[in-house]
Amino acid sequence: MTKVAIVGAGISRFGRRTDANMNALAWESVSAALEDAGIEQKDIDFYSVGNVGVWSEESLPAVTVGEYAGLTPKGTMRVEAACATGSAAIKVARDSIASGSAKLAMAVGLEKMYGVPTPTIVELIGRAGNYFWEFENFGLTFPGYYALYASAYMAKYEANEEDLALVAVKNHYYGSLNPFAQFQKQVSIDEVMTSKYVAHPLKLLDSSPITDGSAAVILADEETARRLTDTPVWIKGQGVASGSANLSKRSDFVSLDASVMAAKAAYSQAGIKNPVEEIDVATVHDCFTIAELMAYEDLGFVGRGKAVQLIRDEQTYKGGKIPVNLDGGLKAKGHPIGATGVGMAVEAVKQLRREAPKSRQADIRHGVALTHNVGGTGHYAYVTLYGLN
C-alpha cells in the first residue's frame, strides 16, 4: 500500500458549545489543521466529513461545512460508523490517497449533540443497534448495552465497581491537564462510587458525557508529506471489523470480537508482534469505564481477565507499561461522536511529535501510537497504528 501520512492536525475545544453552530464548530479544527499543515483549501483534493447527526440541524453537513470552510467545490462525502465515525472518515481520506485519486485529503470529524434536549439525545443514542428488537420493544439504552457487558465481565472475572471507578479516576486526572477537554477536573473514587446509576452497574461517572466538538486531520501521500513537513506521522496499519446489530447475537459479554479482529489486522499490517513492548501510547475507546478495561484485553495489552490488575497497578498511567488515554479519553475529554476518532488521531500526532504538555506527554521510544475507536458496542471497530517511521 502507498504510504500515507498525517501532515496537519487540529481540534476544537470539546464541551457544551452553545457559542458555535455546526459549521463554525467544524471550522475551528479545519482552520487549525490547515494552519498546522501550512496549506490552503485549494491544495486539498478530497475531504470526508464524519458526522452522525439527527440531533443537529444540518442534514448535509459535508456540504455546509465545505461551504463555510471554503472547501467547495472539492469532492466530498459524509461517513458514519456510529461512535467510530471519525476513524471511518480517516479510512476514506487515506484510501483516497492510497488509491492514487488524491494527493492531499482531509478528514473532518464533527458532532453537535446539544442541538436537542438531553432526553432526546438519550433516545437517539438508544435507537442505535437494532431498532425494533432492542429499542422499540424494550427501551434498551446505549449505557444499557455496555452495562450488560459490565455485568457479565464482573461476574466472570470477579471485578467490582471500584475497579471500574479506577478508570474514571485516571482519565479525569489527564483531562485536568488538557485545556481542550470537556471536564478539566479530577474525580475521586468516592465521587465515582456515589454518582447515580445510569444503567446498573454503570454510574454517571463511569460514563462519557454528551459533547459538541470537532477535529480534523490532513493526510498526504509520501512525496507530498515529505515536502510539507519534517515530522510526518505515518498510518502504519488500520484494521476494521463489525459486530452483530442485535446484542443477543453475541456469544459472550466479556470482550468485543470486532475490537479483537480489528487489532489483529492492524498489528499484522504494521508488523507489531508485542503491543505493550512496541507501542508508546494508546488512546482507547472508553465511552464507559468497562469499555477501557475490555480494550486492554481485546488489544492484547494483557491476557483475559487481567485488565483489572493493570489498572489497579496504575500501569496505564504515563510511565506505566502502556500509557492509555493521556488526553483524558472519551470519559473526561468528551465524546462528540463523529469527532472522537479524528480527535484520537490528533492526540496520536501530538504525542508522537512530542507536542503534548509535559505533564501528559508519553515517553516516545518506538515512535508508535495506537488508536482504538469502537462504534456502538462493538458494532464497528477501527484500530489504527500511527508511527514516526
Binding site: 452553545t18 432526553p119 438508544g126 420493544n137 466472570k156 445510569v198 444503567a199 452497574p201 443477543s248
Partner: protein, 164 residues
C-alpha cells in the same frame, strides 16, 4: 432582554443566543413485518417463535425471513424455551424520552438450550436484579398498549439462581 426576537432565547448557563427552530419534526416509523408475521401470530398465542431454515436448519432469533447462507426464504417456525440462562443483565435508570414515564426497568440476555439468545425485560419479584447464570423462563405478557410482548420471568421452581 426585551428586544430579543421571539425565536431567539438566551441559554440559561452560558447566556449565548440560540435560535429556536420553529419547525418541529415528528417521526413515527411503519415497519414492514410481512416476512416474519408468523412470529406475531405466535406471540398472540403466547408462544415465542424463531425462524429455522428448512435447508441448513440454522435457527434465527430475532427471526428473519431469509437464510443468508442458503440464499432462500423457506423457513419453519419453531418455539423457543421455555428456559434460558441469564448471560448479561442491567437495570436502566436514565431512560429515553419515549420511555420517560416508566419505572426503572431490568433487561437481560437469556440463552436457550438451542443456542440462540434473546434480549427481553426481566420481571422478577421486587425489581430484583438476578445473578448471571440464573435460569429463567420466557413468557408472553402485554405492554402498556395491550400488545403482546415477551419477557423473562423466574422458572416455576423459583428463582433458580446459581450459588454465590
Amino acid at each position: 432582554m426585551n428586544s430579543t426576537p421571539n425565536a431567539i432565547k438566551r441559554d440559561e448557563k452560558t447566556g449565548d443566543p440560540l435560535f429556536i427552530d420553529r419547525r418541529e419534526l415528528r417521526l413515527r416509523y411503519e415497519i414492514p413485518v410481512k416476512d416474519i408475521y408468523p412470529f406475531f401470530d405466535g406471540l398472540r398465542e403466547g408462544r415465542v417463535l424463531a425462524s429455522k431454515c428448512k435447508i441448513c436448519l440454522a435457527l434465527y432469533f430475532p427471526p428473519q425471513g431469509s437464510c443468508p447462507t442458503c440464499r432462500k426464504s423457506d423457513m419453519d417456525w419453531v418455539e423457543l424455551g421455555p428456559t434460558a440462562k441469564l448471560l448479561a443483565v442491567t437495570k436502566v435508570c436514565i431512560k429515553p424520552q419515549s420511555f420517560a414515564e416508566e419505572e426503572d426497568y431490568i433487561l437481560g440476555v437469556g440463552e436457550f438450550p438451542e443456542g440462540v439468545r434473546a434480549l427481553a425485560r426481566l420481571l422478577f419479584e421486587g425489581s430484583r436484579i438476578p445473578k448471571i447464570g440464573t435460569q429463567m423462563r420466557i413468557a408472553v405478557t402485554k405492554d402498556s398498549g395491550e400488545n403482546p410482548l415477551y419477557v423473562f420471568v423466574p422458572t416455576e421452581a423459583g428463582s433458580n439462581e446459581p450459588a454465590p
